[in-house]
């Protein structure tokens, strides 16, 4: 019954985002979206209303930044006198001279922009690698625990046992050493002949994350009631299909918060890639600092960017969590 309002909120949010090309109108639209959302709290039981509200907030932020930019920098043919004097006053502040020195002179902001791109690239592929490794290791470890009774010796059991042991060593070594050390070993020892820093970072963070993901997922699998496994098996599903159709979907729901946390950690952990000279976001800010000898602006800028990424990601995860909660109504 709130569907209509929820749809409205969603549409307003999308429009506000598009209208960011006309910041004044966009801001008005975003504020309007937030007001509609605030006045129809009930509609927010529907996820799409929450999505719309989130989009409005994002649009509002973008628009405000755009408006500030327009007011302070945009060259128009007949700039009014009061605006000119406002600009003069702003240009004279220490804040602005710091800002200009750190980001505008020599296009220094490109260190941040390119660094952000590298951070995204490394994080994205490391997350994929981490999930793939984590799922495989978790499955090997939990299947050995459940299947060692069922497999009465023989070839299959021997293979599984060897894999189980390898996974155990992997977890011990990776969780027992600092990620920076692993990164440096991969770069300076294993890939000593190659200079592909992004690949090295992806491998290091992916392999590292995989160990933690594996334990998170194994915990999720163990948390599913044993009766679920028996019900699946008694219907005639084999081990693999019981896991795939019945256990993993339920485990995924329980581990989602822990998994999201792991990825938030991973995004921020990539900031140590500077150790092998990879110019990601943190290193980008640090390079600016080393050129301008002013630490405040670049480091705060870097911190704010990490913060915004993590807030946005957490929001996405909370939406997914709500979506998965459907079966608990």
């Amino acid at each position: 019954m709130y569907t209509k309002k929820a749809n409205q909120i969603l549409i307003i949010g999308i429009i506000a985002l598009i209208l960011a090309v006309f910041p004044m109108v966009g801001t008005a639209c975003a504020i309007f979206g937030l007001i509609v959302a605030a006045r129809n709290k009930n509609a927010r039981t529907l996820i799409r209303a929450d999505v719309g509200r989130g989009l409005s907030i994002i649009a509002l932020l973008i628009n405000i930044v755009a408006i500030i930019y327009l007011i302070l920098f945009k060259q128009i043919s007949h700039t009014p006198a009061w605006l000119m004097s406002l600009r003069e006053a702003f240009y004279a502040t220490k804040f602005y001279s710091d800002f200009e020195n750190n980001f505008i002179t020599d296009n220094r902001y490109t260190f941040i922009r390119k660094g952000l791109g590298v951070t995204f690239e490394v994080t994205f592929f490391a997350v994929l690698l981490g999930i793939a490794l984590g799922v495989v290791v978790a499955l090997i470890r939990s299947s050995y625990d459940t299947l060692k009774e069922e497999l009465k010796g023989g070839f299959g059991k021997a293979i599984l046992f060897i894999l189980y042991k390898i996974c155990g060593i992997y977890l011990t070594v990776i969780r027992g050493t600092p990620v920076v050390v692993q990164l440096m070993i991969i770069y300076f020892v294993i890939f000593a002949s190659s200079n592909n820093k992004i690949l090295v970072a992806v491998l290091a963070f992916g392999i590292n994350s995989g160990a933690y993901v594996a334990e998170i997922i194994r915990g999720g699998i163990m948390s599913v009631d044993k009766g679920q496994f028996e019900a699946g098996r008694s219907l005639g599903f084999g081990y693999v299909r019981t896991m795939a159709f019945i256990i993993i979907p339920q485990a995924f729901k329980t581990v989602l918060p822990a998994l999201a946390n792991e990825f938030i950690v991973l995004i921020k952990e990539t900031s140590v890639s500077g150790y092998v000279g990879l110019q990601e976001l943190t290193k980008g800010g640090d390079i600016i600092r080393s050129r301008t000898y002013s630490a405040f602006m670049p480091l705060i800028a870097v911190a704010i960017i990490y913060l915004l990424i993590v807030i946005f990601f957490s929001w996405l995860v909370s939406l997914l969590e709500r979506r998965l909660k459907n079966s608990e109504r």
Binding site: E149, E150, K152, D225, G227, Q228, E230, A231, G232, R233, S234, L235, G236, F237, G238, R241, F245, I246, P249, Q250, K253, N326, S327, E328, R329
Partner: protein, 249 residues
């Protein structure tokens, strides 16, 4: 062993030991279950009833003895236990519906994935079964939205959706509120009347007396007495059975 074609499950000297023989959950069970029989297993807690039932589809791995289902030794390594389990429906004390799936999907997932039924065919069959237990309007609901009695009725038809030859019931009413026991027993009774072969572990003596064709009384991992319900309840022979019946009736 038995040449009787009607025997569907044949159990011979079944043993299940824990701690290397220290605890004997099953200590030499031998019995045959024939087509169309409704066998009710009763006995005190810890007597091995559930272990016996769960051994029949190998949810418990016996320590010794043999179980033959439709002529196949289920413990032999050449037997595909997953195939055999498709012929044996099982209903659990705690329902074990899949909480992340709707009722309809709970009932269609196995027929679709294992029997290769199309979505339409599986859903039509599931809806027919739901109608039989009066729950057709809950097809789109999730298990968490149902009462215990409704969950157990769904669990029964979920197993029936696989067209099993035998239905195994592991204390199907023990986790239910007293007022919901009746609705589940009614479904089971109807099933028995339709000629389904059933093995049922239960504490519902009324059900045993009314529906069973044979009652097995177990204690300490052994079958103590085995007879028609009439004989068991009105003319018990064994002292242990007598005192058990005195307590529960």
């Amino acid at each position: 062993m038995s040449a009787d074609n009607n025997v569907i499950i044949s159990v011979n000297d079944l043993k299940k030991y824990y701690n290397g023989g220290e605890v004997k959950a099953l200590d030499g069970i031998t019995t045959d279950i024939k087509k169309g029989e409704v066998v009710v297993v009763i006995g005190p807690s810890g007597s091995g009833k559930s272990t016996f039932l769960r051994s029949l589809n190998l949810l418990e791995r016996p320590t010794g003895g043999t179980i033959t289902f439709e002529g196949k030794d289920i413990m032999s390594s050449s037997t595909d236990i997953n195939k055999l389990r498709q012929q044996m429906g099982m209903v659990f004390q705690h329902f074990n519906l899949f909480p992340h799936l709707t009722i309809l999907k709970n009932m269609t997932i196995a027929p679709m994935k294992l029997h290769g039924l199309s979505k339409e065919a599986a859903e039509k069959k599931a809806l027919d079964l739901l109608r039989r237990v009066g729950l057709q309007d809950r097809a789109g609901a999730y298990p968490a939205q149902l009462s215990g009695g409704q969950k157990q009725r769904i669990a029964i038809v979920r197993a029936l959706a696989m067209d099993p030859d035998v239905m195994l019931f592991d204390e199907p009413t023990s986790a239910l509120d007293p007022e919901m026991v009746g609705e589940v027993l009614d479904v089971m009774k109807k099933l028995a009347e339709e000629g389904m072969t059933m093995v049922c572990v239960t504490h519902e003596m009324g059900f045993a007396r009314e529906v069973a064709t044979r009652v097995i009384f177990m204690d300490c991992g052994k079958i103590i007495e085995e007879n028609t319900p009439d004989q068991i309840f009105t003319n018990p022979q064994n002292e242990r059975l007598k005192s058990f019946l005195q307590k529960v009736l």
